[in-house]
Each structure stands twice: as C-alpha cells, then as structure tokens.
C-alpha cells in the first residue's frame, strides 16, 4: 500500500501512540483488502457506544485513546447509547448509567458529536459521491443507496480509527466497479407497509450474501420505507447497498430473483415468536424515527389515551425530537414516551421486566430474541398503535 510521507510518519509513531495505532488499523485493513492507498473522508460514524453492547473491554481501549489525546480530524458522530437522560436513567441501576457516561465522556474528549443516533443522515445532508467511513450497518446501506455517498460497512474500531486519521483505505464500496448491481429482484405484489419492506430486507439479506440488488417497483417508495428495507437487508446479510431506481445497464446477463407474497408472509410470521396478545413493550423507532414518522405516529394516535399497564416507546434522535416538538408533545400527552439517544435494542429491557416486544421494525424483531432475550411480535405501526390505545 502506498503511504504519503506524512502517513508514514504517523505510522512510525512520530505523532504519538493513538495516531500510530489508528494508522496501523487502517493500513493493515487496507492491505487485507488490497487497497492501494488511503483516501480522505468527509465524515465518520462510530458504532459501539452503548455500554450494554460494549462491556468493560472496549471501554479500556477507548479510554486509552482519549487519554493519549486522540482527536477526530473530520465530523464524527456516535451511535445510540444505553440510556436516555429523562426516563431510563431513573429506572435502571445507577452504576450502569455511570459506566455509560464514562464511555460517552471519552468519545466527547476525542471530539465526537454526542449525536447518539443510528440515523446520522438526518443531522446533515451528505454530499452525493462523498467518501465516508460509517459503522452501523443500517446507516451504511442508507448512505450508499439513498444518499449516494460511498462507504464500506465499517466496524466500531475501524470507524474510530478513520475518525482519528480522517482517512479510510480505498477498497470495496469506495470503488465504482464494486457498486454494480448483480441481481434483479422482481416483486410479485407491491409492498403495502413498512413491515413488509423490512421483511423483504430480511428475506433478501439471507439469499444475497454480499451481492447488490436492483429491486423493481420501488420508484415511488418513501424514504422511511426504504430505510426499513435497508436496515433489515444489512441485519440478515452482508449486502451494503441496493438500487430502487433501475440504473441504465444491460439487464440480459443479470441474475433474476422473484419474491412472492408468500415469501414475505412467511418471513413476517417467523419474526413473530409468540402468540401472546399482550406485549410488555410496544416499540417503534428502529432505526430512529424521522420527522415524518413522528408526525405520522402523532396523527394516528389522535386524542386517545394509552391503555393501562401499556408501555409505548418511540425512539429518535434529539435533533429530530426538537424539530418534531409539537408532535412529540402530543405523543407524550397520550401516555407514550418519545426517547432520545437510545433504543430498545441497546438498553437493558430485560432489567425492566420486559419479556415481549411488539415492533414495526424487522431489524428489532430479528435481534430482540438474542440481544433482549424477549419474544417478538412484528406488525405495522397502525397495528402497534391499535394495540397501545383505547378505541
């Protein structure tokens, strides 16, 4: 791999341990994937922020970097943490809250924005064709497919190293030839709600491995629905991008896959693990809600009050909650909670006695049985709200 003189000096340790270790991570990964050089990035998004998923081991490394005066070189944002500071911090053990704050302090010391969201693309528009280094697989697919930015699926440590150096190795999704679609997906029946978009993602993720699909019939799909599709696609497989508008290219040589209504129905049924009708938690906002999704939720609730003993969380970023203030207030008046900085998957729902989670997110339904030790019910927003409210 070719390194500039300055990159070599960083690699040799002239700029201290933190920069050296980050440069080593990027160079070794680059060599592993046959990158010829490092390229500058315009932003980095780091996963592995929630103390629940991290535990103590990573905290030590992040602390060591922060104490060695590592500083981010580009705009760098953070994935959700394990708490919000209004609601969950009062209901979960305080020692966990302290450990989470320690992790967050280290990131802040390095210059990360405490965005604490899995949807950094709502905070600031990415330039088309911008090279970035993002972790959080749902954001990676969104950036590549909908924003037109270029990013590999980074892991927590490699996105962190890219933030500190301001560069990433030039391979994979950073090269045009690797962004070509290989499979054409035909839908037997148009998709009717966000849960079906998610189910399509789970179904395709499992069969595509790393291949990039063109999915026909989605030209008019909303970005919110495409977000659900992409999040699920990345959850079930290694695909980092999809096309929802057919690019100009030869279609005769491309492999074709048909997806039937039955395939999707079966996928949704598999993601529902229980027949109980009384979930302990109803959760929307995986990935974090957009302004439009908060508005839609508020409108569907109307003036109703939540049922007794029912817990309903709507998770989003602080940024969106602020923009959606009047809708968020309306939702909270109904007895539901609009939580920022966190989500059901990365907090300790089992410590709150939650054994069954109803959600409209296929990604959450996929992860909750292992990460939350919870049974799941997967259903669209309308049904989630019907379950939570009287009348």
């Amino acid at each position: 791999m070719y390194l500039t003189r300055e990159e070599e000096r960083i690699y040799d340790g002239e700029f201290g341990w933190a920069n050296q270790i980050c440069m080593k991570i990027l160079v070794r990964l680059g060599e592993l994937f046959h990158a010829k050089r490092l390229i500058p990035i315009s932003s980095s998004h780091v996963s592995g922020v929630s103390y629940k998923t991290l535990g103590d081991a990573p905290t030590e490394f992040i602390k060591a970097l922060a104490n060695a005066d590592a500083k981010v070189k580009v705009k760098s944002t953070l994935n959700p943490q394990s708490f919000d500071c209004d609601f969950l911090c009062k209901r979960l053990p305080s020692d966990l809250w302290e450990k989470q704050l320690n992790v967050l302090d280290c990131f802040k010391k390095m210059g990360f924005k405490p965005s604490l969201t899995c949807t950094p693309y709502y905070l600031e528009k990415l330039q088309k064709n911008a090279h970035v280094a993002w972790a959080e697989s749902s954001a990676v697919v969104y950036a590549n497919s909908i924003m037109g930015a270029w990013t590999n699926r980074e892991g927590g440590p490699s996105a962190l190293a890219a933030a500190i150096i301001g560069k990433t190795p030039d391979y994979g999704m950073h090269q045009a030839e690797n962004r070509q679609p290989k499979v054409l997906v035909k839908l037997e029946k148009p998709l009717s709600n966000e849960t079906e978009f998610g189910a399509l993602g789970i179904f395709l993720g499992k069969i595509l491995k790393e291949e990039i699909p063109i999915i026909q019939g989605l030209q008019k799909a909303s970005k919110d629905n495409l977000k659900q599709l992409g999040a699920a696609l990345a959850t079930a497989g290694m695909t980092n991008m999809f096309y929802y508008k057919t690019p100009r290219m030869q279609m005769d040589k491309i492999e074709k896959i048909g997806v039937s209504a039955e395939d999707l129905k079966r996928t949704i049924e598999k993601l529902t693990t229980t027949s109980t009708q009384t979930p302990d938690l109803i959760f929307v906002g995986c990935p974090h809600c957009s302004l439009n999704e908060i508005r839609k939720t508020a409108e569907l609730i109307g003036n109703r009050k939540i049922k007794k003993q029912t817990e309903f969380w709507i998770c989003t970023s602080r940024h969106i909650k602020e923009k959606a203030k009047k809708y968020a207030e309306k939702i909270e008046k109904s007895g539901a909670h609009v939580l920022t900085d966190t989500c059901a998957v990365v907090t300790w729902t089992e410590k709150l006695g939650i054994k069954t989670i109803m959600t409209n997110s296929a990604k959450t339904a996929h992860y909750a049985p292992t990460l939350n030790k919870a049974e799941t019910i997967l259903a669209p927003l309308k049904e989630c709200i019907k379950k939570a409210y009287k009348g």
């Binding site: 990964l29 592993l32 998923t53 081991a57 490394f61 892991g155």
Partner: protein, 139 residues
C-alpha cells in the same frame, strides 16, 4: 527429535514467539465466545469450550461476529491473558484489528490442519513463517 515443518504465510502483525499450539477447526467470535476476564472459551458448542487461550499460539480458520470482539483481545492483553500469537487461514477484520491494538503477533494464509493442539510452534511474524515441532500424542 524430528526436524520442524516450516510453513510460509503472510505477516499481519509483526512479532516473534515460541509456544504451545491451541488449535480449533471452527471460527472464533471473541465477543461472547471468549471470557475477557481470563481468556477461557465460553461458547458452549465450540470445539475449544473450556480451554484457555492465554499464552498459547492460537490457531483457527478466521474470526466472526461483532466488531466489538477486537476490543476483547485488547482487554485480554492488558490482563496478560492474551494468546502469544494468532495463526489464521484467512484473516478477517475483527481479529486483525484486535491483534493490532493488543499487539499480538499474527500470521495468516496457513493451513490450520497442519498444526495440532500440543505442538510446539515458533511464529516469526516479521517474515511471515512458522515452524512446527510435532508433539507425540498431540490431539
């Protein structure tokens, strides 16, 4: 004593060591699969379940699972419970990043089945080759 078998691989993280091999034919997930407190393999249906990776030349095909796994190797190194070296068939990003931040010598592109648990292995991760002394009765 038999002369050693010499295999050429690719250096990933530079370093040198000579220690006993602990060999698995299965991928290892460091997050959830290895106890970060002592280096014991805790994944129940793993062929190394209950074994300790501390001070061994740990040989396995490749890593899998969460990228948080890289940090587990760092934590093990801080507690002096890390392997002395890592040998993989095909290095993957999780283990590579882990070996870099934990400063564990690492070589890949080695045929793992040539090595058995209990063999004495010399790892020269400056040049990228390994020497194996077969242990009588090695598993």
């Amino acid at each position: 004593m038999q002369p050693p078998i010499i295999l050429k691989g690719r250096k990933i993280v530079e370093g040198y060591c000579k220690a006993e091999a602990l060999v698995s034919t299965k991928p290892i997930s460091f997050l959830g699969g290895v106890d970060p407190a002592d280096g014991k393999i805790v994944e129940r249906d793993h062929d190394l379940y209950g074994e300790c990776i501390k001070d061994k030349v740990l040989c396995f095909p490749h890593g899998h699972g969460s990228t948080v796994g890289s940090y587990v190797l760092y934590s093990l190194a801080k507690k002096k419970c890390a392997p002395k070296a890592i040998i993989n068939e095909n290095a993957d990003p999780v283990v590579v990043v882990g070996a870099i931040i934990a400063n564990i010598p690492m070589v890949d592109q080695i045929e793992i089945k040539q090595i058995k648990t209990g063999d004495m292995v010399e790892v020269d991760a400056y040049k990228g080759f390994i020497k194996i002394w077969k242990e009588k009765g090695a598993k």
